[in-house]
């Protein structure tokens, strides 16, 4: 599954700043989006709506700050833009970004292929 919606595309763009290994055409994008979708399915409707709104706001603020879409920014510009958002004067926006950052980390580090990079041998399961 490659990003099909505005939401998925912008989540992936944000995720590429949080975890640079997800940038460009990384084969990890598909399992990342699969995991992200699983996480989104498990959260309450209110949080789900807030995350969707936040991703939309990131897109809008890119136009406000950069006069360009988030997608059209190059790698360094994306990093600078997200850094700026993490210093935004409205603490709820910063806290929302922090929450989205957490989801990105959990989705990314939940990919078994990533475990090798961090020297994690994977789970031990007994009695199944």
């Amino acid at each position: 599954m490659m990003p099909e919606t505005y939401f998925e595309r912008n989540v992936l763009l944000f995720a590429g700043v949080i975890v640079p290994q997800l940038e460009k055409k990384s084969p990890l994008q598909k399992p990342f989006l699969d995991n992200f979708e699983k996480l989104m399915k498990g959260i309450d409707p209110d949080s789900f709506d807030k995350i969707k709104l936040l991703v939309k706001v990131i897109g809008i603020l890119s136009w406000v700050y950069n006069l360009r879409s988030f997608k059209s920014l190059n790698g360094d510009q994306k990093v600078r833009f997200i850094e700026k958002l993490f210093h935004f004067p409205i603490s709820m926006l910063v806290a929302g970004l922090t929450g989205l950052r957490s989801l990105v980390f959990i989705a990314y580090y939940g990919i078994p292929e990533v475990w090798r990079d961090i020297n994690y041998d994977g789970p031990i399961v007994t009695n199944n």
């Binding site: 975890v19 309450d44 993490f86 709820m92 020297n119």
Partner: protein, 496 residues
Amino acid sequence: MDKAYDVIIVGSGVGGGTVADYITRDNPGLKVAIIESGPFITKEFFNQKEIDMTTLYFNHGAVLSKNLEIAVAAGKSLGGSSAVYTGVSFRPPAEVLNNWNTAFGLDFLTDDYVNRSLDEIEDEISVHELPDSWDNDNNKLFKKGAEKLGIPLKRLKINVKDCQQQGFCNLGCTAGAKQGTLEVQIPKVIARGVEIICNATVNTVEEHFVNITLNDAPARTLANKLPSGNYSLKGKIIIIAAGALNTPAILLRSKRKLKLKNKNIGRYLTLHPVFNINAVYKEKIKNYRGFPKTNYIDHFSDSEGFYLETSFYFPGVTAKNNPGYGQLHSEMMRDYHKMMSILILVHDKAEYRNRISIDKNGNAVINYLVSSNTRTSLIKALKEATRIFFAAGCEKALIPASDRIPITTGDIADLENIISDRNLNFSKTPLSSAHPQGGCRMGVDPNTSVCDKTGKVYGTNSIYVADASLFPTSVKVNPYETVMLLAKWVAENIPV
């Protein structure tokens, strides 16, 4: 459909499971149902994978406060939070019980009753100290660091049997070693004929009624016996044990039906705020294996208001807990196999302003402001934990509220300036909590409490509470034994 029971228990966690066990011991004919919001899922379906197993929690383990500054973890599956706790077993501190006795009139909490009850409970759920030989490197390094600094250390008691040392107790134990409700009380009460109704949201309670919506069972969990839909279940006695987030919310949703005017419902919530912090040791240590917790420090409890415990988390949560993002963060995560970890638990005061409320849809909302005392304790705890990291031989520490990421050995002399309140920003490094308590305070004065000293909700005839929401103040330690103690007391005093 209307089904009728003698007792309906809302929640299958530590409170619900314990109360179910005690009321059915000497009452073989009693018709009892347990209503659980989560699915019927057992160890055979656990797999220690973070993405799959965080479904055992409400909101994947992060129910956020309204101001987004603290994320609360609460179990949402059969066994409740006992399916995902580490099994750290503390008796309630004597000074806390003395305060509950003297300030709130809970005079049943005599030394004799408490010791007799907890001896029995601990025996049943196999509470014991793990031998030193079980210490993984994280615990060994914690000990080494503390001893080098002259900080006294204590061993934790744990309730496990035949532990396979898989590492991540908080993702459910595939060996069923943790002797929580899922492994001990639930099988016992099922054998005694107690009916378990999972996937059921409790909308409201009324005198002698519980109104539920039965939802579809998620994939890979046991199917419901009844079709999905709304049901009204009749019970002579209703015991709510849905945890400190949901028990107050159920009562608040039911306020009109129960004609409750008590202003204390949901109030005096405490969260036992937590930072989990990591550092990088000089060589490979593989702390994700072995039992994650064997040691703790209570040396700063009275003077500075915090405990330090060992801990170690799965990759996603570890990444979340480490500050920053981008290239530097990814490089730090490559050292996951060298990471040492410490859990900071701060004792927060029960304050009227901190509460569970409900939104327009009736969902629980956590209203919690971190006090200045808690901030001070957090900063002190971060400094002490960082000193332990370096005394243990770590090379870098990844600390929130620090103006250096990472802090290195060369920074130790300047720690007082590097870690400071001015850098403590919960919007960027939110706190966590796994021990929500209060909201339905037990006490003899209805003006300051929600439940009387038998657990009955003031102003009702048939509604009781039996979980951590009863705590008048924070118990200051991992709370499950105290929940079991109060649930046992409630069970013993219910007129069945």
